[in-house]
Amino acid sequence: MNLFLVNFWAAVLALGLLLYVVLDGFDLGVGILFGFTRDEAARRRMLSAISPVWDGNETWLIIGGTVLWAAFPIAYALIVSAFYLPICLMLAALILRGVAFEFRQKAGARTRLVWDIGFVGGSVVAAFVQGVAVGALVRGLAVGSDGRFAGSGALDWVSPFALLCGVGLCLGDALLGASWLVLKSDGLPRERSYRAIPWLLAGVLIFLSFAFVVALRMDLQVMHRWIERPWLAAFPLIGLFAVIAIISGIRRRRDAWPFAGAAVIFLAAFATLAASFLPYIVPFSLTISQATAPPSSLAFIFWGGGIVVLPLTLIYTIAVYAIFKGKVSPSAEYH
């Protein structure tokens, strides 16, 4: 039973993180792209495309955080403290972005600028910091034999590779954001997004292949895995099919294809990461089973949170997207 519970909560954690990265990814991406237009009408339509769903998307971050703490407290204590500065920065960015989103419509022209800067800046910082955290994790944290952080301080996560991953996730989120705008809007924002997608896609692909090669060279353990299990190459291959889908979606102006393709690229990248590092929750220093809470904790959260509230939350998420499916019409600008 306990092994089942450990696997269950590891799966929930993975699902929560994946949902967060893809869902909040596209609205962070729209926030990044928001900074590239000055046109107020276009800006409003961009906001309308994400306004019904953005904070539901962010909920998955909180769900991920609390599941990590409840089910894997040793990993939570290690990761969250080792990333002290990036996480505080991300929280500040998410607050600023969340309220900016809402307060800008109440503000006059001059104060609106403040909230807009907060919205764009908050989106960029949140995406960048999340990418940095992934990169730093891949590179490996200094972990003592007791499972505590054994690095030299709060700047241990800084490395060229981690910073590169920060830029990479900004590009990836912008790609998701542009694809979402293609899916949800008409007119100018849709056209502009169509034009931006090839560049963003090229940037993401260059980044991903570079990061993959660097990761293989950086750690022999990863290399061995890929040599031992060549079938793992299926994941990057799926990503490649998604790239083709995006390109042909652009050519044929199929509005749903770019987003589906971008989401699959994220899924493939996520699976590639997982395949490279499982069963480690912190690569090559802390395994999932080493990080787990005692059985009494896992069972307690399973019977209420796991099999009742979590399915309800998933259903609720699907329902919200179903209600808001289709394009946001120009007359539907809520501002």
Binding site: A71, P73, S81, L85, I95, F149, A154, V309, F324
Partner: protein, 473 residues
């Protein structure tokens, strides 16, 4: 001060600052959610339009406060790990699951039914709308419930044992959830929220009466607010007293600090006001009730002995001055609220309320009292628990993230301080505008907003319902 101690102090200041900022909003929304459910039930039962107008009015204010509570709550979910990695590592098996339930219930009940409240009035039967109001109130209450279980466990740990690696392992969740400490502290928090909201409602009513506007609504708000408070403040005082009983038994160092009692006394006297002189273990300028008043207040007894700080090693003392004054400010606010609520309710019985301008002004100016009492109550409980994070077992100094430097924490403290100041100012300005604008006369209009965008609710300039309705699929 050593670098470690400075980092610890800054982490404590940062946690105190962010959690104090956060609690202001739940303290308000727990009460408001119950008040909204009450108004909707009254509206359904009596059919009087004034209840409906009041409901719509307070729903817009609820939405803003709820939004600020949500964004400031996200920080709390991670701050345990960022600044208190040893605490989250060692107590994670207990606190993690409790806070997971808090997050999950909050999301499941508040977020989903809140959507119904904000945009589905026209689309659901009235009984279902009332049901949604009750569910939102239940959601905010359950949030507070899980938080109070968690905090009560930190105050008086039970149902767990310490494993060899220093982690707390839960053995008996029933003991944790049904700890007697939970069941005096949870009602105390709940009534704090109700009383806080009741005074905000009464103060708004008094403000409108002073301005001679929105007569019917103003009258209803002031009366209902004061009547609710007249019943609840005494209940709250009783639960406060019951809290004192657990503190006497489980946390003698906190009790001695609250009472600035330096020596064991049997029976004990009661210091009403003083300046505690910690260095010399005595009180300056003390106004004291003679024995046995201290024993009577702390232990319901004429002869009980009460513990003084002398019998506790100084390294286990909390900082005496903060719990001592915070407690007195809390009780003082409570007594002022009791006076206003009883006098106001008495005058309202034969319709003399509106003619007493001093009472109108006093009630209007009383709106911060509930917030101040809630905050100082928490200061008493949390600072009084020091130097322990988990009382008697884990010291705060051992709970912190060991490698943080003062520079790291100072940096984040400045960033959080600046951002919270900005959003607090904007949020308060926005609530003030809604209050100044007052209840809207139209009944047909559902206060339009988007369920996922609580902060955008309110004001006649938010045609979000239109956006929703015309999103074609």
């Amino acid at each position: 001060m050593s670098s470690d101690l400075l980092a610890l102090l800054l982490s404590r200041i940062q946690f105190a600052f962010t959690v104090s900022f956060h609690i202001i909003f739940p303290a308000f929304t727990i009460g408001l959610a119950a008040w909204l459910a009450f108004l909707e039930a009254l509206s359904l039962a009596t059919g009087r339009p004034v209840y409906r107008r009041l409901f719509d009015f307070w729903l817009r204010i609820f939405a803003v406060a709820f939004g600020l509570g949500v964004v400031s709550g996200i920080v709390m979910a991670f701050e345990f790990g960022t600044n208190w990695s040893e605490l989250s590592r060692r107590t994670g098996p207990v606190q993690g699951p409790l806070l997971l339930y808090e997050t999950f219930t909050a999301f499941a009940l508040e977020a989903s039914f809140f959507g119904v409240l904000l945009f589905a009035r026209a689309r659901v039967p009235r009984w279902f709308y009332l049901f949604a109001c009750v569910m939102v109130a239940l959601g905010t209450t359950l949030s507070a419930f899980w938080i109070m279980i968690n905090n009560s466990w930190m105050q008086a740990p039970t149902g767990t044992h310490l494993a060899a690696d220093g982690t707390f392992v839960p053995d008996d969740w029933t003991a944790i959830i049904f700890s007697p400490v939970v069941w005096v502290r949870f009602p105390h928090m709940l009534f704090a929220a109700y009383v806080t909201t009741a005074f905000c409602v009464a103060a708004t009513g008094a403000w409108y009466i002073l301005q001679s506007r929105d007569r019917a609504e103003a009258r209803t708000m002031m009366r209902m607010g004061l009547w609710i408070a007249a019943v609840m403040v005494p209940v709250q005082l009783l639960f406060g007293h019951l809290n004192g009983e657990y503190v006497v038994h489980r946390q003698p160092s906190k009790m001695a600090a609250i009472e600035a009692r330096w020596h064991d006394e049997k029976p004990a006297s009661e210091v009403l006001l003083a300046w505690p002189d910690v260095a010399n273990r005595r009180n300056l300028f003390a106004i004291t009730l003679p024995a046995p008043f201290g024993s009577l207040i702390d232990s319901d007894s004429l002869s009980a002995g009460e513990v003084g700080l002398d019998s506790i090693p100084p390294e286990n003392w909390p900082p005496v001055v903060i719990p001592f004054f915070a407690f007195r400010i809390m009780v003082g606010c409570g007594l002022v609220m009791l006076f206003l609520a009883w006098v106001g309710s008495w005058l309202a019985l034969d319709d003399r309320l509106e003619t007493r301008r001093w009472l109108l002004w006093a009630t209007f100016l009383s709106f911060p009292l509930g917030f101040i009492a809630t905050l100082t109550g928490w200061f008493t409980a949390e600072v009084g628990r020091q130097p322990w994070a988990v009382y008697g077992v884990l010291r705060t100094a051992q709970a912190t993230t060991p490698f943080l430097t003062p520079r790291d924490v100072a940096l984040t403290l400045v960033v959080f301080g600046a951002i919270y100041a900005l959003i607090f100012a904007a949020g308060i300005l926005y609530i003030y505008r809604l209050l100044r604008q007052g209840p809207l006369p139209t009944l047909a209009q559902v206060p339009g907003t988007n369920p996922k965008r609580p902060l955008a609710a309110g004001g006649p300039d938010s045609p979000d319902t239109i956006a929703l309705g015309s999103t074609h699929s």
